[in-house]
Amino acid sequence: MTTTFREPPVGMPSRGADLARRVLADRRAVLGLALLGALFLLAFAGPHLAKWHWTDTDFAAMREPPSAGHWFGTTQSGRDVYALTLRGMQKSLLIGICAAVLSTGLAALVGTVAGYAGGWADRALMWGTDLLLVLPAFLVVAVLSPAFRAAWPLLVLLLAAFMWMVTARMVRQMTISLKRREFVLAARYLGVGPARIVVRHILPHLGSLLIIDGTLNVSVAIIAESGLSYFGFGVQPPDSSLGTLIAEGTGAATTFPWLFGFAAGLLVLIVLAVNLVGDGLRDALDPAAKGGDR
């Protein structure tokens, strides 16, 4: 070819690096990431700051309001609320975020494969999805929970397994309409393979949906876990999660607010931080949003 060769654009970052740059340029995303980091730090390093362990019982202080000795006060059996809350937060953070990532990932995988492949793959996957939709999730988890008394990762799997179906159906529908768009057609006729088209052309357009779904799922998973715990199926006493603490504390919310106020406040903070990160990620994925171009 008789073209005048020009230098390739220097310093052109890869797509991933560009995405990271744009996430970090977003004030909300940075705030959210910082908050989330602080919460993790509090959950895992915080217990070492206080002298009380979550299993300890202080018989000298029962239902004490927050004080210098017990920062968040104590329960009616004399356990330290600070230690209990952080212990619960460890569980809730892990359960919430892992379950959300798993369920949204599963929804994206099933939805795009079914929508893009069509035919029998679509029918088989949607049949499975519908089957899970009609199963009473709470009962199944309740029946199965005695089997994994000690293993929280199994609880995460079980929670995630019952959260992805509605999103998967939405993803499938959107994939079908994206599949007919001209840029997907163009990629197909350029010789781009189906897996690559799904990853590069379809998933980015589902970004907002998946991120909103993922952030919502964090709180849904935390609350679902607390619901299960309330009925004695999720995290079992004496271990605690934010859900069990809130469930136990709500009864005495007006008279002994410290029993549940701290746990509820931290839950709100977690959900807020995840939402901020999600908003930033969504805008970074969409070049039409402000700050799209360099």
């Binding site: 070819m1 008789t2 073209t3 005048t4 060769f5 020009r6 230098e7 390739p8 654009p9 052109m12 797509r15 560009d18 768009r181 001209e182 840029f183 057609l185 163009a186 990629a187 006729y189 350029l190 010789g191 781009v192 393979g193 690559r196 590069r200 052309h201 980015p204 357009h205 994925l285 969409d286 070049p287 039409a288 799209g292 171009d293 360099r294």
Partner: protein, 687 residues
């Protein structure tokens, strides 16, 4: 007598932040047609909406619009509603969305008569039928009871015109009235508009981007650029002796059916002279450069052009005015004439010695038609492509033309799939697509690439230009670094700067986007590029540059093109050979000069005669061949010759010879050296 007078009209959008119209003045007399021409974003449509008081919320119009001496700006909606339809009427671009889908069109026409004239129901209905007859709707009493979706596009637009003239308005504002219509339909609608003007004496403000349409209908024209008038005057004067560089550029960049550029020296006899593009792209409203807004694109701009925006100043006696600091008398020398590059890849000049790149024979694509929801029943077959045959040889462009519904795009998509067609054979570079393995098919995709009509739709909006251009390379196994290295080279190939690599498609202009789409198609060094209406979404000034680029690339890289287009003038400029499609069949095929000069098939003749010429005296003389009726349903084509229901030649035949058209489906016959036509009585052979 002036019926509409506009003074210093200004329109802003988004609460005053985006100025769309920046002070225009005009006057239209009774029975006069004023053409407002310009490219997208120049403020034409905003002007039309301001004249009729139909601006969207958030937009504001200031200045003065006087209709028969009555000021319209500042009237309330209720007051305007009494004026609209009675004194000033509007014809929109898309009649489908301008008509109510749930009521018969006759009722809709009758409604305007009832509201403004206080006529009774029966009288109004009778008047509606009369009006439909006036605008040339056949069988008006029956059509009055039809719903909009039951009518064809041209018929709907005639209904709109009937509604517009229903109350004898003083002014009709027609905003791109024929842009959405096919060529032969456009010719008929323009004739109806002219007849309506003659019958009612209404003044017409015709807004169009098509210089040919304005040339035929307008008495005076106003050329708009960046929200202002840059040149006005009698249509003949402005077209023959333009004095503003933008007008000159527009006239030179329009592809013409005869291939002759305007203002060319007589000795220039090249068979296919190049179009002269205007560099750059029209400014975005709200982000205008300082000084003359055209200065950044003007080939003869001077430093003083960038200092202050020139006012429209009168030149000559007959109401001509120009907004340019220079006094240009000779339009020929303003733009440098581009020189075509010599072919870098030599191909034998005789077609027979060149290797075929694409061979298609008997290609068929039928779509089944179903009824019902749950219990689907096959009720028919749309014969989108019904046995077509052609070949393309290396270094050659075949234009596939015809009106919508002819099957052009279906044929292109069928080739693009590189799979076995429903019937017939497709061979690319000698390889039959029916016998390809998956791996071979993927390898063959490198050699067959595509450019779609709308680059905004065909480029992934979430990918940067660099990633878009690297994609075909990585898809065919190139390493990511190597692919990234080719990006700058590809951008240079299509005349774009490397600094665009980091941009997203949404932040490029239309012309830049289509260039990126072309660069992507060329990334794998294909042999055959399929072009699906590659310039129809672009403004004329930008379109010329893209057409020249396609031509240069063909010469430089030895490409072959299959160009699908509805614009015969574009095909005239770019293609070597042309195939005309009608209802899924190729009715004529041959070398461009021959077919354009001596069309043998009556459909080709009609198509060619319907193309408006941007040359007012010639355009007014032009007599287009009228095709009666509408295109038949492709699910139920006429027996015998498919064109016979609309064929003027068939209608003129004696019954004995006409019987052959009714009974025998015509096979393509040779009528010239390299010209085939599917007609029993082709032009060259009819005495």
């Amino acid at each position: 007598m002036t019926v509409l007078e506009v003074r210093d009209l200004r329109v802003t959008f988004r609460n005053g932040t985006v100025p769309a119209v920046r002070g225009i003045s005009l006057a239209v007399g009774r029975g006069e047609v004023l053409g407002i021409v310009g490219e997208s974003g120049c403020g034409k449509s905003a002007t039309a909406l301001a004249l009729t008081g139909l601006l969207p919320p958030g937009a504001r119009a200031t200045g003065s619009v006087r209709l028969r001496g009555r000021e319209l700006i500042g009237l309330t909606d209720a007051e305007l509603a009494r004026v609209r339809g009675r004194d000033i009427a509007m014809v929109f671009q898309d009649p489908m969305s301008a008509l109510t889908p749930v009521r018969p069109v006759g009722d809709q026409i009758a409604e305007t008569v009832q509201i403004h004239q206080g006529a009774g129901r029966t009288a109004a209905r009778a008047r509606a039928v009369e009006l439909l007859d006036l605008v040339g709707v056949p069988d008006p009493a029956r059509r009055a009871r039809a719903y909009p979706h039951e009518l064809s596009g041209g018929m709907r637009q005639r209904v709109m015109i009937a509604m517009a003239v229903a109350n004898d308005p003083a002014v009709i504002v027609a905003d791109e009235p024929t842009t959405a219509l096919d060529g032969t339909v456009q010719a008929r609608v323009l004739r109806v508009l002219r007849a309506a003007r003659d019958a009612t004496g209404a003044a017409i403000v015709l807004i169009t981007h098509d210089l040919g349409v304005a040339a035929g209908l307008a008495d005076r024209v106003m050329v708009m650029y960046a929200g202002r008038a840059v040149e006005t005057g009698p249509v003949d004067e402005v077209y023959a002796r333009p004095r503003m560089p933008y007008t000159i550029g527009l006239l030179q960049s329009v592809p013409r059916l005869d291939g002759r550029p305007p203002f060319a020296p007589a000795e220039d006899t090249a068979d296919r002279p190049r179009l002269v593009p205007i560099e750059g792209h029209p400014p975005v409203p709200g982000r205008l450069p300082g000084g003359c807004p055209f200065a950044p694109r003007c080939p003869v701009a001077e430093p003083r052009c960038r200092e202050a925006e020139p006012d429209l100043r009168p030149v000559g006696a007959d109401g001509r005015a120009v907004a340019c600091v220079r006094d240009i008398r000779d339009p020929a020398g303003v733009y440098p004439r581009p020189v075509p590059p010599p072919p870098a890849v030599p191909v034998p000049s005789d077609r027979r010695w060149r290797r075929p790149v694409l061979e298609v024979s008997g290609l068929t694509r039928h779509h089944p038609l179903y009824t019902g929801g749950r219990l689907r029943r096959r009720t028919g077959t749309v014969r989108a492509v019904d046995g077509i045959e052609f070949d393309i040889r290396e270094g050659e462009t075949l234009g596939l033309v015809g009106e919508s519904g002819g099957g052009k795009t279906t044929a292109l998509m069928e080739i693009l799939r590189l799979r076995a067609p429903q019937a017939g054979r497709i061979a690319v570079l000698g390889q039959d697509t029916a016998t390809l393995t998956a791996a071979r098919r993927k390898a063959l995709r490198r050699d067959v690439q595509v450019v779609f009509q709308d680059p905004l739709a065909s480029l992934d909006p979430r990918m940067r230009v660099a990633d878009i251009l690297a994609e075909p390379l990585t898809a065919h196994g190139a390493r990511r670094r190597a692919a990234a290295g080719r990006v700058g080279e590809l951008l240079a190939l299509v005349g774009l700067g490397a600094e665009l690599a980091g941009r997203y498609p949404g932040n490029l202009s239309g012309g830049q986007r289509q260039r990126v789409a072309i660069a992507r198609a060329l990334a794998t060094e294909p042999r055959l590029v399929l072009l699906d209406e590659p310039v129809s979404a672009l403004d004329v000034s930008v379109q010329a540059g893209v057409l020249n680029l396609l031509e240069d690339l063909k010469a430089r890289l030895g490409l072959a093109y299959l160009l699908v287009a509805h614009d015969l003038a574009v095909v005239r400029h770019v293609a070597d050979r042309v195939a005309v499609m009608y209802l899924g069949r190729i009715v004529e095929l041959g070398e461009v000069p021959q077919v354009y000069h001596r069309p043998a098939h009556p459909y080709t003749r009609a198509l060619l005669s319907a193309v408006p010429v941007p040359d007012p005296p010639r355009e007014r003389r032009r007599r287009s061949v009228a095709l009666p009726g509408d295109r038949p349903d492709p699910a139920d084509p006429p027996a015998g010759c498919r064109f016979r229901t609309r064929c003027p030649r068939h209608a003129a035949l004696d019954p004995v010879r006409a019987r052959r058209c009714l009974q025998v489906d015509p096979e393509p016959v040779r009528v010239g050296d390299d010209q085939l036509t599917a007609c029993h009585y082709p032009e060259a052979m009819t005495p």
